[in-house]
Structure formats: C-alpha cells, structure tokens
C-alpha cells in the first residue's frame, strides 16, 4: 500500500496526446490503474470513452494489450480470454481486465457481467462511472443520479442511481471496491489489491466528466472529492462479503461531518435547474444510503 504521490511507479503506460477531453478524470484513473496492473495485462474495452482514448486504427495510446469489443460483451470477451490463457497455462502470469463505462456496465453489459460473476471467472471488471453515456453526447444511463440533466432527461432524471456494487455483492464474488479518480493513490492501492485475488473482482470508479457534468476542466479533482465529502459516493471495499470503509470515507459515517449535498450539486451545470425540494430529497437519499452502509459494517 502506498501513501505518497512519488511512490507511484514512474513508468508511463499511457502515452501522451490521447483523444480524451482536457481535464478528463477517466484518463487520470486509467493512467493510474494501468500503473498498478502492469504490462502483463490484457484489457478488453467495449464502446465507451475509453475506446476513444485508445485511438483510431492503426495507432493506439497505451503500452498494454487492448481488445476492442462490442457494447454488451465486456465480461463475455474477458471470459473467453481467461479460458484461452488457462488453456495456454498463462493465467498465473497475465491479468485480464474488463474496463467499461457506466452504461456498458449497468445497462447494456450487465447480463454478461452477471454471468461471468456467477461462474467466478478469474478477471477484474472495472467500471468507470461518469454517470451518463458521455461518449455519445451525454444520454441518461442507469447510473445517472437523481435530477441530473442529460440530453434524454431534459428536466432532470426522476430516479436515483442504480447500486451496482451491491448487485455484485449478491454474486458472492471475492473482491468489490469503490474508488474515485480524484484519489489516485486509492485507485492504485485498490487495483493492486484486486490483482492479488482470484476469481471475479469488481471495481467501481467515479470519474467526473467536465463537458457532461458542466464544470470547468480544472475542477475535476475537486468535484470528485466533494462527491466523497458530501457522502454521495462512499468509498469502501468488500472482501469476502465483509465491508470495510476506506480512510477517505471513514469520517463521513458520522452525519455531522458530511458536507451538505448542495455544495456538490451547485457546482455543476447539470443540476442548475434543481429546487430546494429536490436538494432535500437528494439529502434524504444520501442519508438512507449511509444508514444502509452502517448496518453492513
């Protein structure tokens, strides 16, 4: 476990000059995650912002092996790669990782993911959650939070976010973690830990998106940190069914220490239209979420 920025490995596996937007926290998360995963990794990516980052044929912007697959088959293609590696006797040496967006995980790819998790296929599934289909111009996904503007929810989404880590918990997989791109050290530590387990491992990363969420590019880190400090996005690990709160989220178990959700919502263009009533509903939802977590600990 590392605690200081300069403890991160110096070698860059993500090459400069990618196609991702300025201030993209997914790019930051990916850069840190592949540092933890190392070169002996095969990554499988469905249609998502990450496909855009990898670039157009015949160039790519990373030094690890990447397979581009169709939207719903991240976990299915990873299962195939794992089976091939096992047949070749390389499964101990090479880590297989499926990197999908929130839409590719919670809406389109969930059947493949559920199947792979049920078989306990030996791979890491990482979902980077920018809370909308950012790649195609911000449409609503199952991970879009309450009242957020997207092009398909012009008056704000009426439903709350889907809790994918808890769906994965129901599959009895050995390792589940949530992390946020604003804490690169936490991202690095959780990917490093996930590598040590065998079986299906699931990591959910919150990745703020400047054009989709409507905030200036330099605030990417701050917005992610606010999501944690307001308690909207709790960071935890579930190891063999037992939940552990990460140190970044530990203080916020106490409701008095949590910042009001309005601090987070008011910084973003996608929540520009919300009223006090919506903020109260949101706050209630966040409090309920923490009541649930405190019972799980």
């Amino acid at each position: 476990m590392i605690t200081r920025p300069d403890d991160l490995p110096e070698e860059e596996l993500l090459l400069s000059g990618t196609r991702s937007c300025a201030g993209c926290s997914m790019s930051l998360m990916y850069r840190t995650a592949i540092k933890a995963l190392g070169k002996n990794t095969i990554i499988t990516v469905p249609a998502s912002c990450l496909t855009v980052l990898h670039g157009l044929y015949h160039k790519q912007s990373v030094l690890v092996n990447v397979i581009h697959t169709t939207f719903e088959t991240t976990a299915a293609s990873a299962s195939g790669i794992v089976a091939a590696l096992e047949a070749l006797g390389l499964d101990e040496k090479i880590t297989v990782v499926g990197f999908a967006g929130d839409g590719g995980t919670s809406d389109i790819g969930i059947q493949g993911l559920s199947g792979a998790a049920e078989r306990n296929t030996n791979f890491i599934y990482a979902c980077y959650d920018n809370e909308m289909y950012s790649n195609t111009g911000t449409q609503r996904s199952g991970q879009t939070p309450y009242m957020a503007y997207t092009t398909t929810t012009p008056h704000g989404k009426l439903e709350h976010k889907k809790n994918i880590p808890m769906i994965m918990l129901a599959h009895n997989i050995p390792y589940i973690a949530t992390t946020c791109a604003s804490y690169p050290l936490d991202v690095f530590n959780k990917f490093t830990r996930a590598k040590q387990f065998k079986g299906t491992r699931y990591i959910h990363v919150l990745a703020p998106c400047p054009p989709g969420w409507g905030y200036p590019t330099h605030e990417s880190i701050e917005i992610g940190k606010l999501a944690v400090r307001t308690g909207i996005f709790p960071l935890y690990e579930i190891i063999d069914g037992k939940m552990f709160l990460s140190k970044e989220s530990e203080p916020y178990l106490d409701p008095r220490k949590r910042l009001p959700v309005a601090d987070y919502l008011k910084k973003q263009g996608r929540f520009k239209h919300i009223t006090q009533q919506h903020i109260d509903t949101y706050q209630e939802y966040v409090n309920g979420q923490w009541d649930f977590i405190s019972k799980m600990l």
């Binding site: 200081r4 920025p5 300069d6 991160l8 110096e10 860059e12 993500l14 090459l15 400069s16 000059g17 990618t18 196609r19 991702s20 937007c21 300025a22 201030g23 993209c24 926290s25 790019s27 930051l28 850069r31 840190t32 990898h54 670039g55 157009l56 044929y57 015949h58 160039k59 790519q60 912007s61 990373v62 030094l63 990447v66 690169p184 050290l185 400047p210 200036p216 590019t217 330099h218 605030e219 990417s220 880190i221 701050e222």
Partner: protein, 99 residues
C-alpha cells in the same frame, strides 16, 4: 513484428502504440501551466517529496523530475496541476501572453 499496413500480413487489425495518437494536443490549449521554480518545493528544499502535479496530470505530461517540466507539445491546458499544487507554484497563463 507484424505490420498492420502490410497487405501480406495475416493479422487484420493490429494497432501500434504511438505518442500523440490524436496529433499535437497542445494546440487545444487556451491557458498554459507555468511552473514557478521559486515556489516549487522540489526546488526550494532538495529533500522534499512532492510530485503532486505529476500524479494528478490526466495525460502524464508533467515529468517526475526536480523541477517538474511540462510537455507543452501535448499538454491540453486543463489546469488540474495548477489547482492541485499544494504550494501554489503553478500558474495558468493565457497562450498569447509572453511566457
């Protein structure tokens, strides 16, 4: 190595790692980050450990050196480094202004 552009190659779609896949992304920039060496803790105290800007750069365009150097060919000018510097040593200057 298999060359994907060679018609005799049996592998149809292989991509090769390249720096600057999207071209010189430095041209996207409106503001450029300028590191003030008088404020950067890595210069002012030789034993200090920091490299926070290097850790937070989404593209890895800041070098892990003393002082850190920005790769202006590919820096997109997002300003995350200036925002996250604990010693306020990075300023965002408009591109047209003198460096």
């Amino acid at each position: 190595m298999v060359n994907s552009r060679d018609p005799k190659s049996t592998i149809a779609a292989v991509q090769h790692p390249t720096v600057g896949e999207a071209g010189k992304t430095g041209t996207w920039r409106t503001f450029r980050p300028v590191i003030d060496e008088n404020k950067c803790i890595l210069v002012t105290s030789p034993k200090a450990r920091c490299h926070t800007c290097w850790m937070f750069c989404p593209e890895g365009n800041i070098s892990k050196t003393r002082p850190p150097r920005v790769n202006y060919d590919y820096c997109k000018g997002c300003g995350i480094c200036a925002q996250s510097c604990p010693h306020d040593a990075i300023a965002m200057r408009k591109e047209e202004d003198e460096p």
